[in-house]
């Protein structure tokens, strides 16, 4: 009997048409009747003549029972119209549904579609369904149109453009609607929103990529300094894994920065204040990390709706540093090797020219004079190359102290006297009687003055004056050097501070110099917290002006580039 009940229960889970239910009930009754007979006979010894009314009664009961079982269990006596409505309800609950006519204009959108995309029904009905496709899916749109027009269905992943312009990833089935002659008279699209799973898989992909990076990636909370994420390289560096780094804070990573990291987190907060205050987007540090020299770039990152967190990228630069040292040593050695013969040549020529080795005839003296002048040029070139290299590597050292600018300018003019004489130029000064102090490296500013003065002499006409002025603003001391020569052509003005730039490349030969001078001057002034500029008029002359701070300014400890770096 148990098997019989299971069969019936199974039957009722299937939707059975009402007519079929009566047939099944009859069958149940027929199958059940002998059992009823057997049951009666087994329990009693009644005459067979009275069996037939019992049998009829039994059959009737069994039939009614069968009907009851099926009706009570199934309750599926819906009309076909009700069933269709029921199916549509289920479809609408799960899927995003749209229908279009033969022209591809939307004639139906369901509630779920409106909810997912943010449109109102009035935004869509009567409009071409192409408006739902983002620009990136244009080709796909055409391809799908062709498939539907040919009477076939399409299934795949595609994006749908929401009202706010964002895209929703969907799994989509599009079925053509055909008339009796198999003409396409419309289409129905059924979509499932898969954006979330797309994001999850993209997230996984990103995480995997981060893990494969050779740079170490650390993310940590800006307040507690607790680690949120470490990539493989970072975990390896610290000797942690996914389960252990979660409990660790920044200080557990054994970072040394000119000694250990500030013990008090408040000092760390102070250090990264430019980031947290939004003054800079990124800070770079060079620090010892697990005993190795690392360059660390730190950013404060906040994603939409997320909490802000620090992202630090660390890269081992010990090899690069070793290479840089080799390069520096090489340049220093080469410069030394070059200076040694230049010292001999210049010394020997100087002694001959001075008459220390006997008198010279005029022609020989002139020739030796040219040779001597050119050894000077060679020395200047060597010095310029060395300076530029040091500036480029950020290794130019400055000895900052209060410097009397009037003395410095006067000294520079005196040192440049022979040069001014050579070009038959006289220097006139303005404001040198003021006692003005600048906070700078006097030797380097002397170098700047030397360069500006020699340029002014070089580009003056014979007999001209060069005007040197000293003045002040509230915070700075300013110096200007003005010549009344040919001026800088407009086309060359923008690049005059560039390396190897001279207004006319033939100047390099006729005027001397490497073309490195002004780029060095600019770097020297800016590295000391000052600025330099010029005004020039063709045919009238050029005026270079620079300023340096009167007192210690924070700018003087920030290398060019504006990012604070830890000392090497």
């Amino acid at each position: 009997m148990n098997k019989f009940f299971i069969l019936v229960n199974k039957l009722v889970t299937i939707r059975i048409p009402v007519k079929l239910q009566y047939v099944i009930a009859m069958l149940i009754a027929v199958i059940a009747s002998p059992m009823v007979v057997y049951a009666v006979q087994g329990k009693t010894s009644i005459d067979s003549s009275i069996l037939s009314p019992i049998l009829i009664t039994g059959l009737t009961i069994a039939y009614a029972w069968g009907i009851w079982i099926i009706r009570s269990a199934a309750r599926t006596d819906m009309t076909p119209a009700q069933e269709t409505a029921y199916q549509i309800e289920a479809l609408n609950a799960h899927s995003i549904v749209t229908m279009a006519d033969a022209h591809g204009d939307l004639i139906f959108v369901n509630e779920k579609f409106l909810k997912t995309t943010g449109y109102d029904r009035s935004d869509l009905i009567g409009k071409s369904k192409s408006m739902l496709y983002p620009d990136s899916e244009r080709l796909l749109f055409k391809e799908i149109q062709n498939i539907i027009q040919s009477g076939n269905s399409w299934e795949g992943e595609m994006q749908v453009k929401s009202k706010d312009g964002t895209n929703v990833w969907t799994h989509t089935t599009i079925v053509p609607q055909l008339d009796n002659r198999k003409n396409v008279i419309g289409s129905i699209s059924i979509r499932t929103d898969i954006t979330q799973s797309k994001i999850t898989s993209a997230d996984k992909y990103l995480r995997k990529s981060l893990h494969l990076l050779r740079d170490e990636v650390y993310m940590f909370d800006p307040i507690t300094l607790q680690f949120i994420y470490l990539n493989e390289a970072a975990m390896k560096q610290c000797g942690w894994d996914e389960t252990t780094y979660i409990d660790k804070i920044l200080y557990d990573a054994h970072i040394e920065m000119d000694g250990p990291l500030p013990i008090d987190p408040s000092q760390f907060y102070e250090m990264v204040r430019p980031l947290t205050d939004g003054e800079v987007d990124e800070m770079a540090f060079e620090l010892l990390f697990q005993g190795k020299l690392n360059e660390v770039k730190l950013q404060l990152v906040q994603t939409e709706g997320g909490k802000p967190h620090f992202v630090a990228m660390a890269r081992d630069i010990s090899e690069r540093k070793a290479f840089e040292k080799i390069k520096d040593d090489f340049i220093s050695t080469v410069s030394h090797e070059l200076r040694t013969p230049v010292t001999s040549i210049k010394g020997a020529l100087g002694l001959i020219l001075s008459g220390a080795t006997g008198t010279l005839d005029e022609k020989a003296k002139r020739m030796l004079d040219i040779a001597y002048r050119n050894t000077d040029r060679l020395t200047l070139i060597i010095n310029d190359i060395l300076d530029l290299e040091k500036i480029a590597a950020g290794r130019m050292d400055f000895n900052f102290e209060p410097v009397s600018m009037s003395d410095l300018v006067a000294d520079a003019i005196a040192a440049n006297e022979s040069y001014a004489d050579r070009y038959n130029v006289s220097v006139k000064t303005f404001g040198l009687d003021q006692e003005l102090e600048g906070y700078c490296d006097g030797d380097r500013i002397f170098q700047v003055m030397n360069n500006l003065l020699s340029n002014a002499a070089k580009f003056s006409n014979a007999g001209d004056e060069v005007h040197v002025s000293l003045y002040e603003t509230n915070t700075s001391v300013c110096v200007s050097v003005e010549d009344f020569g040919e001026g800088i052509p407009v086309h060359a003005q923008a690049s005059i501070f560039n390396r190897f730039m001279q207004a006319d490349s033939s100047d390099r030969r006729s005027k001397g110099g490497t073309g490195l001078g002004l780029s060095i001057v600019k770097a020297l002034v800016e590295s000391q917290g000052g600025s330099i500029g010029f005004t020039s008029q063709v045919g009238k002359g050029t005026k270079f002006s620079f300023d340096i701070p009167k007192t210690y300014s924070t700018a003087t400890v920030i290398p060019v580039g504006g990012i604070r770096q830890a000392a090497e």
Partner: protein, 130 residues
Amino acid sequence: MGNLKILHVEDDADIQEIAKLSLETIGGFNVHQCLSGEKALEDAAGFSPDLFLLDVMMPEMSGDVVYQKLKALPGHQNTPAIFMTARAQSDEVVALKKLGAIEVIIKPFDPMTLPEQIQTAFDAYSNEAS
């Protein structure tokens, strides 16, 4: 200029010759020259100089080491030194002055003014010492 006795250590023979001409002919100094620090340490006692004039970059023993060893010799703990260097980096100049250099002359030097430079530095040092 006076009769200063100068012990000059320079590994480049050409520069040595130019310096000799400059210091003796123009400066009128009494000059003894050595091509290496080792030689200078040998010769110092016999020459008993008033001043050491030392090249910095030398292959066997650099000028600053030579100076420290020369100062350790009897009678020379107060003998001043002037260095000549082709490395015009200010940190090196500062380091040499800290070591006791009374002057650092940058190469290439001017042989016409070299004796004057040396005499001026020596006089300033002597005035300070006395």
